[in-house]
């Protein structure tokens, strides 16, 4: 029970910081909508299927933006060591970060998906389900990679290089669920990805943050 309480407290800390500073989510939402507008001009007329693929590219890069910021507060204040010393299980730090980052992404997508429906085509239920599953997948693997990159030089450059090959399966599952006639297998694949990388990150996070 205290494990969940620790996780909730850590996630709440990130959400409170965002609520007070409003540094990340508005910028992410603006980025996502701008990306959709850019895509409109990058595409030839009437290419809805290609637009659906590009929606996923926009979501992927928005997630990348969120992950680049995921440990920004801790790094700027030098708080990561203090966080690691806190008397809680280290995997709770990861779980709290995962919950907060997913919450940010959901907020941004609450803007981005209606914008996509407005500009291009209505999003169906399968797409919404796929986006929800993909958020967990992006953040499960991404927060682990962000924690790896945070101590490195050129970390803003490093994280995209680490993140893109790992997130490629999520993109395949997401695009598949959006454009295929039977989205079931793609959603199942996304769920499988989430489970595998959540277990890996949950088990591996402790080794990544311990000095």
């Amino acid at each position: 029970m205290s494990y969940l309480a620790d996780t909730a407290a850590l996630a709440r800390k990130d959400l409170l910081l965002e609520l007070r500073g409003r540094e990340t989510v508005p910028a992410m939402a603006a980025f996502a909508v701008s990306a959709l507008v850019v895509f409109r001009f990058a595409l030839p007329e009437d290419q809805t299927e290609a637009a659906q693929g590009l929606l996923w590219v926009a979501l992927l890069f928005t997630a990348l933006l969120a992950l680049t910021r995921a440990f920004a507060a801790e790094r700027d204040q030098g708080l990561l060591d203090a966080l690691v010393l806190a008397p809680c299980d280290r995997s709770a730090i990861w779980l709290g970060k995962l919950a907060a980052t997913v919450a940010f992404l959901v907020l941004v997508e609450a803007v981005a998906l209606p914008a996509f429906s407005l500009f291009f085509e209505r999003v169906d239920a399968a797409t919404v389900a796929a986006v929800a599953l993909a958020d967990v997948g992006f953040c499960a693997a991404g927060t682990l990679l962000a924690a790896m990159a945070v101590g490195g030089r050129a970390r803003e450059l490093l994280l995209p290089v680490l993140f893109l090959p790992v997130s490629l399966p999520v993109l395949v599952g997401g695009v598949g669920a959006t454009i295929a006639d039977d989205p079931g297998r793609y959603l199942a694949f996304l769920a499988l990805y989430d489970a595998i990388f959540a277990i890996l990150a949950w088990a591996g996070f402790e080794y990544v943050v311990t000095e």
Binding site: L144, A149, L162, P169, Y207
Partner: protein, 229 residues
């Protein structure tokens, strides 16, 4: 460096020459020609063993990474890193031989319908990032552990990416999926393939052992310099 390890490395190198030489000779001269593809199919005797050796090296890197996290002993860090290093070399060779085969079979240097090739491109990108990650961190136990977790992520990513490449094929290629090798190989082909596989694995082991010995020497030299200087 003990004489035993030097001798065993010499033995390994010798068996590589014998196995790889006889395997290539068997594959090129003795095995029957493929009825559909003609002589270009013979690159199979190099391409597939090299790809399997790359998988073996990535697996070996993950095993050493797991040992590092389990026991905390620093020597596994260098072993895991060396395995990734040699594995990436074999990954590049897989991409090159696969690309040549694609050119011979379909007339393009790149073919998105070839699962193995696409998977190796993803793995190549992933393991290239391993070096960037490793060299952006300061040496020490933290870097060893981060590298180890990343190497473990790699073996998890291999099957997941393979599944993703398969799923993506249904989207990109609605038509029948291209396959090149007959599931039932004639025994001569299979024997030549097995000898080549042994040769490629021995080559991987030779490169790994020599690279590791060189890197260990490098570390010891640096330690000695610190003591003296």
């Amino acid at each position: 460096m003990s004489t035993w390890s030097r001798n065993s490395r010499l033995l390994l190198a010798f068996s590589t020459v014998v196995l790889l030489g006889s395997g290539v000779a068997l594959g090129l001269l003795w095995a029957p020609e493929d009825a559909d593809q003609g002589p270009s199919q013979r690159i199979f005797y190099l391409h597939v063993p090299i790809a399997l050796t790359a998988y073996a090296l990535f697996g070996w890197a993950a095993w050493k990474a797991l040992r590092l996290l389990w026991t905390g002993r620093e020597r596994y860090d260098l072993e895991s890193y060396t395995a990734v290093h040699v594995g990436v070399i074999f990954g590049v060779l897989t991409l090159v031989t696969g690309s040549i085969w694609a050119k011979a079979s379909w007339g393009h240097w790149w073919e998105w319908g070839d699962r193995q090739l696409v998977l190796f491109l993803i793995l190549f990108l992933f393991y290239s990032a391993y070096f960037m990650l490793r060299y952006s961190l300061d040496p020490g136990p933290a870097r060893s552990r981060i590298s180890a977790v990343y190497a473990l992520m790699g073996v998890v990513l291999i099957p997941v990416s393979l599944l993703a490449v398969r799923l993506a094929e249904n989207l990109v290629h609605p038509g029948p999926i291209v396959t090149r090798t007959d599931p039932a190989l004639p025994w001569q082909m299979f024997l030549a393939f097995l000898v080549c596989l042994g040769g490629a694995l021995a080559l991987g082991a030779t490169l790994y052992a020599n690279e590791l010995a060189g890197k260990r020497l490098d570390v010891r030299l640096r330690e000695l310099r610190e003591v003296l200087g």
